[in-house]
Amino acid sequence: MSDAAAFEPRIVAFFCNWCTYTAADLTGVSRMAYEPNVRVIRVMCSGRIDPEFILAALREGADGVLIGGCHPGDCHYIEGNYKMLRRYRLLLKYLRAMGVDERRVRLEWIAASEGDKVQRVVNELTWTIRELGPLALPVMPQPEGAGASEESALAEANA
């Protein structure tokens, strides 16, 4: 167990600017402590998150991904969060088939006021992944320059 104890998950979070990102701010302001394993990327809407971003994050070394969007009915772009939901459900099936534990990729609806939910979800995900261990995707030798496309996918997500 000592190895597992030493493992600190790396989690990439894609948070919607209008709700979850604000909630995460609130958590900070309210001094609600949560696990420090999450790196947050702000997006304008969960509907903007392409499954390519999620897989690129995993490929680049993340052990888990958290997606936060507005509650159903609250999306500023009307249906963005439903789009995300549909992609997410299909993506989970794909991940299972590809041998990635689906608990590593989590979608939550978190409103701007729900700082406590950010705290709870981040903690839970961190603990789950701590238990699951590192993702450690099998590597294939790649020529120089391969992987550039994945970086740019992340850069795109950041933009």
Partner: protein
């Protein structure tokens, strides 16, 4: 001016890409007349040393089909790269890993075990496996080792151009040869096929609703397929909206859905993921249960969305192998 020097080579492949060259029919004689074929393993005796002896960049163009499965193939790919000015990955196997790339869902050992001990008709109580070196009474016999994974050509060497398709459509092949001969080549890295979705050139495009909403998937054996109507509108998983055009939609003309052998258009990094995104956004439901029922109908997402492209996805291989 001397004729351009051309080469052909194949790695883990089915031979269909060669047949596609033969399907140029009479036109193949023009090709043979226009280039100087300096290297074609099935046509000439050819040894690694002969290639080594070439000057770097001596070959003007080399068409390479097949995925990379063995270390020997990898080595030769590097060698050919050094000796060739323009390397063209020819066919899905070389372009994205192809159908042999589905082997990345299993380990090498799983494949060996299945073939040599678990298959229904095999009788092998001693559990004999093929060996890289076998001592036989008369001496030693060797077999090459195949690697744990399958890779596309650009995962092994730099590739200049891609001719997509399983096998590449003859019209695209003809265009590519002309482009090479005239020297009017697009920027390096280009896939030599139109950069728009297959639906745009599909004869059934008119019957594809603009606001298509998917409420149900059908498997081809479950329905009598209408010969005129857009297949996606009939509930079939037709990958036309996410696949590059250039083939003329022969599969649709055969009254079956496109399975995506030409791969994605230029802005897409991971064909399977982008295809899933396209489809998911057509789902009508907002209800998680209903969405899951729809998803459940896609019994094999990897084989449906990455049939020709698994090694070139972000994951490359099944994660827990």
């Amino acid at each position: 001016m001397s004729k351009p020097k051309a080469g052909f080579n194949w790695f883990a492949s089915c031979g269909g890409c060669e047949e596609a060259v033969v399907d140029l029919h009479e036109a193949i004689l023009d090709v043979v007349a226009a280039v100087d074929i300096v290297f074609w393993p099935c046509a000439m005796d050819f040894k690694k040393d002969d290639v080594r002896a070439m000057r770097d960049g001596e070959m003007d163009v080399c068409f390479i089909n097949g995925a990379i499965r063995t270390s020997e193939e990898e080595e030769i790919a590097h060698l050919l790269r050094r000796k060739t000015k323009i390397v063209i990955a020819f066919g899905s196997c070389s372009h994205m890993g192809g159908i042999p790339g589905l082997g990345n869902l299993f380990t090498r050992d799983e494949i060996l075990e299945h073939d040599f001990t678990q298959s229904f008709s095999v009788v092998n109580p001693e559990k004999t496996y093929p060996q890289e070196v076998t001592k036989v009474p008369e001496g030693e016999v060797e077999l090459p080792r195949f690697l744990d994974y399958v890779r596309s050509l650009n995962q092994v060497i730099d590739v200049d151009y891609y001719l997509p398709g399983c096998p590449p459509p003859v019209a695209l092949l003809r265009n590519a040869v002309q482009a090479v001969l005239s020297g009017e080549l697009p920027p390096r890295g280009t896939v030599l096929a139109p950069d728009k979705a297959l639906c745009q050139e599909c004869p059934r495009l008119d019957s594809k609703p603009d606001d298509l909403a998917i409420t149900e998937f059908k498997r081809p054996q479950e329905i009598i397929i209408d010969e005129e109507k857009c297949l996606l509108a009939q509930g079939l998983l037709c990958l036309g909206p996410a696949t590059r055009s250039g083939c003329g939609a022969p599969c649709v003309n055969g009254n079956m859905p496109c399975t995506g052998c030409l791969g994605p258009t230029s802005r897409v990094k991971d064909y399977g993921l982008s295809t899933m995104t396209v489809f998911a956004s057509l789902f009508e439901s907002k209800d998680e249960k209903e969405i899951d029922e729809l998803v459940d109908k896609i019994v094999d997402p990897v084989g449906s969305f990455n049939r020709y492209s698994l090694p070139s996805t972000f994951l490359h291989r099944k994660a827990n192998v």
